[in-house]
């Protein structure tokens, strides 16, 4: 991580726990860059996370109040803290398994209530920390430690889910779209209400090695290729859209 963001990190933390090639380190950088550009006071920020690799992005690294909670429950914990002390600027950072599977109910109810939270879902499409089991976000046909013949179930479209539940701001970007992602995080932090960003973050260790990505670099390259901006997607013929992931802002009526 660049030295200019060091003030946002706890001095006693000297390394990250992420595997080589993991997207979460990039995301950590981009979150802090958005906070830095907005000149937010870290003493007023509370970072809440659940269980899993992405939950370790803020805890213990960020030099602010951090609440590392139970698996799936980050939004419920964050709701209590925010509702009791509205002065806290509360950001939830967790993974797809945590927020959308075991915690799926809290995700949709947080959006429904329009609780003033910024929720970042680092989606690596797999259970990374526990050894690469299939997730509710794994693509059909993907190989995981529990789908050795390929996943037969459809993945959630998290943005559609959260938008339908009533979130004011919904966006999807990959860590390979850093500038767009920083701007989206800044925008989400400025939203008075429930803001949700799905961040595509590659997991070469658990997903890549089982799905024909020989190196982390190759996985990043493929992620860049597969992501298409919403406005560009409209120009593409439908047969070319099949494998592509549409990125952009999918705002609700209130933003």
């Amino acid at each position: 991580m660049a030295r200019d963001l060091e003030a946002y990190l706890r001095p006693e933390v000297t390394s990250t726990p992420f595997c080589p090639g993991c997207g979460h380190g990039i995301l950590m950088n981009l979150i802090l860059r958005a906070i830095d550009e907005l000149k937010l006071n870290m003493e007023e920020m509370l970072f809440v996370s659940g269980i899993g690799c992405a939950a370790w992005i803020p805890s213990p690294h960020f030099n602010a109040d951090t609440l590392h909670t139970l698996h799936g429950r980050a939004i419920a914990f964050a709701t209590g803290a925010k509702m009791f002390n509205p002065k806290l600027n509360v950001m939830v950072i967790s993974g797809d398994g945590d927020l959308a599977s075991i915690g799926g109910n809290h995700l949709i109810h947080g959006a429904r209530r329009n609780t003033d939270l910024t929720v970042l879902c680092a989606n690596n499409m797999i259970y990374g920390m526990t050894g690469g089991q299939v997730a509710s976000t794994s693509p059909v046909g993907s190989f995981t430690s529990t789908t050795v013949e390929g996943n037969i179930y459809r993945p959630f479209d998290l943005c559609k889910l959260v938008l339908a539940a009533g979130a004011l701001y919904v966006a999807r970007y990959a860590v390979t779209q850093p500038r767009l992602l920083i701007d989206a995080i800044k925008k989400a932090l400025g939203i008075k209400g429930f803001a949700f960003i799905e961040v595509l973050s590659p997991c070469p260790t658990q997903f890549g090695r089982r799905n024909q990505y020989d190196t982390p670099a190759e996985m990043l390259k493929r992620l860049k290729e597969v992501c298409v901006l919403e406005e560009d997607a409209k120009m593409l013929p439908s047969e070319e859209l099949g494998e592509r992931i549409i990125t952009g802002e999918f705002t609700g009526g209130g933003a």
């Binding site: 213990p60 609440l67 590392h68 709701t79 209590g80 509702m83 009791f84 806290l88």
Partner: protein, 395 residues
């Protein structure tokens, strides 16, 4: 009652953090249900965050609080389930609130993982369990006291909690307020183990002009998860105070830094969260004694059943039977020393319970005299005549 005062331990020790405040309600007599008593006791103790999910027979607590928080300025949240309820309570506590949730058996089961989190992160909070006849959905409108061992052992791993057993609407009010004080003083989840009958019972209570509350002790910069103090309870900071807190349910050191493979950090933390309750148990445990000095048979009773037990003891005394009653107002930590003392004097201990003998088994760990369990699990209260008949047959 001479001879018993030495092991009473019933007075809360005056210490840092305690102060007298005016009661929220005007002093005087009120006619409340037990569930309303809980809500008012919580408000009086300073509870200003409540999250819950509807469940019979506890819902009136939530309904009453939702109305009263408008008047006293609290944050009420009806959450999507009991898991979210207790998790949001923990979040609110770390944001500075005194906070509570209330539920019944099925909801209490759902809350267990978060109760372990609260115990391990030393989060003071109150959970009210208005017990109904279980297991599972059981009989939602009928009574039981089958959740006592769950209160003690419900979450995984080794930890301690405090659990109180009220027997009247007055105690629903008083013990709820006391539960907040104990939670703050020991930084621990405290359970009020009410039963359906006391939740729905209506009776007169007296509200005093003042009550004693315990304020969170704050020592800026101090380690929030470790202490050099004798009581083993660290000070309790909140989010937004510039402490840059690290709160985690993973094993951690005194500053909250995750220690997932350090045997010393693991051993120290587990040891301390147990020790802080067990070594202070004489201060925590509250009991009541009736006719114990010359009693040959002693009824040990708690909760609603203790009302019938007291009636039985009075009746048997009129018949000249040497029978006494030990009432356990605190069920966890367990009154081991007092039971031991009672067991060394009595010929037999009789334990009527609306479960399959959860507390009679606990008493057997500490006494050598006969312990006769009387279990009733039909969703009805235990009639005093049943207790009288059984105790008579012992003498």
């Amino acid at each position: 009652m001479a001879g018993w005062s030495s092991i009473k331990g019933n007075e809360l020790v005056e210490s840092m953090g305690m102060r007298e405040i005016a009661s929220t309600l005007r002093p005087g007599a009120y006619y409340f249900s037990g569930n309303e008593g809980v809500a008012e006791g919580a408000i009086a103790a300073g509870c200003r965050y409540y999250a819950g999910y509807p469940i019979t027979p506890s819902s009136e607590i939530m309904e009453h609080i939702s109305v009263r928080f408008h008047e006293v300025g609290g944050v009420f949240m009806q959450m999507e389930d009991e898991i979210a309820s207790i998790c949001s309570v923990i979040g609110a506590v770390w944001a500075g609130a005194k906070a509570m949730t209330a539920t019944s058996g099925p909801g209490f089961s759902l809350m267990q993982e978060a109760i372990g989190y609260a115990a391990f992160t030393e989060t003071p909070l109150v959970v009210v369990d208005i017990q109904r006849a279980g297991p599972s959905s059981g009989q939602a409108t009928r009574v039981g006291s089958g959740d006592l061992m769950q209160a003690k052992w419900g979450s995984h791993g080794d930890y301690q909690v405090i659990a109180l057993c009220p027997w009247s609407v007055q105690e629903m009010y008083d013990q709820t307020a006391a539960a907040f004080n104990l939670a703050e003083q020991f930084r621990v989840p405290v359970f009020l183990m009410g039963e359906e009958t006391v939740g729905h019972l209506r009776e007169r209570i007296e509200v005093g002009a003042t009550l004693t509350i315990y304020d969170r002790i704050k020592q800026p910069g101090a380690a929030p998860f470790g202490t050099e103090g004798d009581d083993c309870v660290p000070s309790m900071p909140s989010f937004g105070e510039g402490e840059r807190l690290l709160v985690t349910g993973s094993s951690h050191n005194e500053f909250g830094i995750r220690k997932t493979d350090d045997p010393v950090a693991q051993a120290n933390l587990v040891k301390r969260i147990n020790k802080k309750i067990l070594e202070n148990r004489e201060e925590i445990i509250q009991t009541e004694f009736y006719y114990l000095d010359d009693a040959e048979a002693v009824i040990v009773s708690y909760g609603f059943t203790a009302r019938g037990s007291l009636f039985a003891v009075n009746q048997l005394r009129e018949e000249g039977k040497r029978v006494g009653l030990l009432r356990l107002k605190t069920i966890w930590p367990f009154a081991d020393r007092i039971c031991q003392e009672v067991g060394s004097r009595a010929k037999a201990i009789f334990v009527p319970e609306m479960n399959s003998g959860q507390i009679s088994g606990e008493i057997r760990k500490y006494v050598t005299c006969d312990v006769v369990a009387y279990s009733q699990t039909d969703g009805e209260v235990i009639h005093p005549n049943r207790i009288i008949e059984k105790v008579r047959s012992l003498l």
